[in-house]
Amino acid sequence: RASPDPNQYSRAVDWLSRYGYLPPPDPRTSKLQTKEGIEQAIRVMQRFGGIQETGLMDKETLKLMSTPRCSLPDIVGGEDMRRRRRRRKR
């Protein structure tokens, strides 16, 4: 399986962040996304979009990512809420 080209990869990460599937990048900590984190985000995006859940940037996923859409995020404050909930538990 060929790995996606770096530009495509970075565009996809940007797309996933913009629509709420990945936490927004934090320039202070230069936070890197883990491979598993991105894969999971792709799965959620695929599930939300009603296409096969592969966790991979396959043809269908790239097609969906390039479909014109509304600019509001699909997952609103998911990561923030999860973080807040964890903090409250602690």
Partner: protein, 439 residues
Amino acid sequence: YALSGLKWHKTDLTWSIHSYPTSSVSQGMVDTLIAHALKAWSDVAPINFRRQQSDGSRGEGGGDIRVSFAKLLHNDGYPFDGEGGTLAHAFFPGLDEVSGDTHFDDHEIWSYGGDGSTTDLFTVAVHEFGHALGLSHSSSDPSIMRPYYQGPVEDIRKFKLELDDRLAIQQLYGARDNAETDQPGVGVDPDPPLFPSPPPRRPTKYPELSFNERCQGSFDAVANIRGEVFFFKGEHFWRTKRDGSLVSLRPALITNFWMGLPTGTKVDAVYERKIDSRIIFFIGSQYWVFKDTTAMSGYPRPLSDWKMRTQSGELVDRVDAAFIWAHNGKTYLFSGGQFWRFDESQNREGVIKEPDQQYPRTNDLWGGMPTHMDDIITWGEGDAYFFKDNFYWVLENGGINQEYVSPKSTSIDWLRCPAPPTTSTPEIPGNPKQCVCAF
């Protein structure tokens, strides 16, 4: 559907158009499309939209939902990206100045019912007004609130929101009185009624059981389910938590908690299956498999699935007790003074069980235990607890044929009953002539 958590706390909303697209749709057509897009929502929810003339500025005026067409950066912190990509966005309801505002990317070629090279303004507007009213993106298909562009509709005058969208908006604002969904049988929409009539009220009926009922013992069944011990008697049960305290001194109705069991019966035996935590109930010659507190479909099934035959070859028609022995993880079923052993680590999905060979055996193999017990559980460090009448006996982990086991009081130790001033002593199983001062 998904809700943003925000809504308008009024149902009379105003709207205005502050700029028009540079593409070929006429201003009149834009007005019509926007009005129809709002009407899609007001058709099904008691919201009234009133157009307000724009003063042409981005200031205070213009009402609740202010529509504009803009390119790239347009002073709201959410720039557009040229043709394609993002098409539009709207702000959720609230008290902010921008709340309800709806922006369309003017780099798109907006159209009404155009081909694939243009973007249909009506469907995008219906979607964005969903946001302006408080809806988030939906993953349902069909739904106008899916985030991706879905193309034009055939006739905007006949456009009707899908069930997912109707449920969402009516969750926020209620249903309009004359909404089609409120008139079952009208039209051809095969959707189910929006909000099914609630079942008749079922006020909690407190059982007429006396305090003594709990303390008299003689339970039909006792089971360790997820670390809590359930005592079943007649149509009721009591439940002790992991720390040994009772959830309530009052009994609960079995059929109010364990959904799917028949009323007017009593439970013979219950156990929690080890491999998948399903809960198995035996009542008469039938059994039920529960996932959590609900019976799985396909049950009850006949007890004959378990292929338990007595030593004289007859099929067993009821179960007295059931438990999983921590010592070996095997399942044991008891009936009429005999017991059968099952290995449930195999045959996970199948309903037909085969007892292990050389079974049944007689209950007196469990030395020191009552031979006709009410039920058995595994508890504590893997010890087996045998319950009979108002007593229980503990068979230490892995032990069998213990010489003498002292019975203890179920009601005192498990059901928080006071110790009686004097008590009669139970017979010792296997040696009924010997007396014991148990208390």
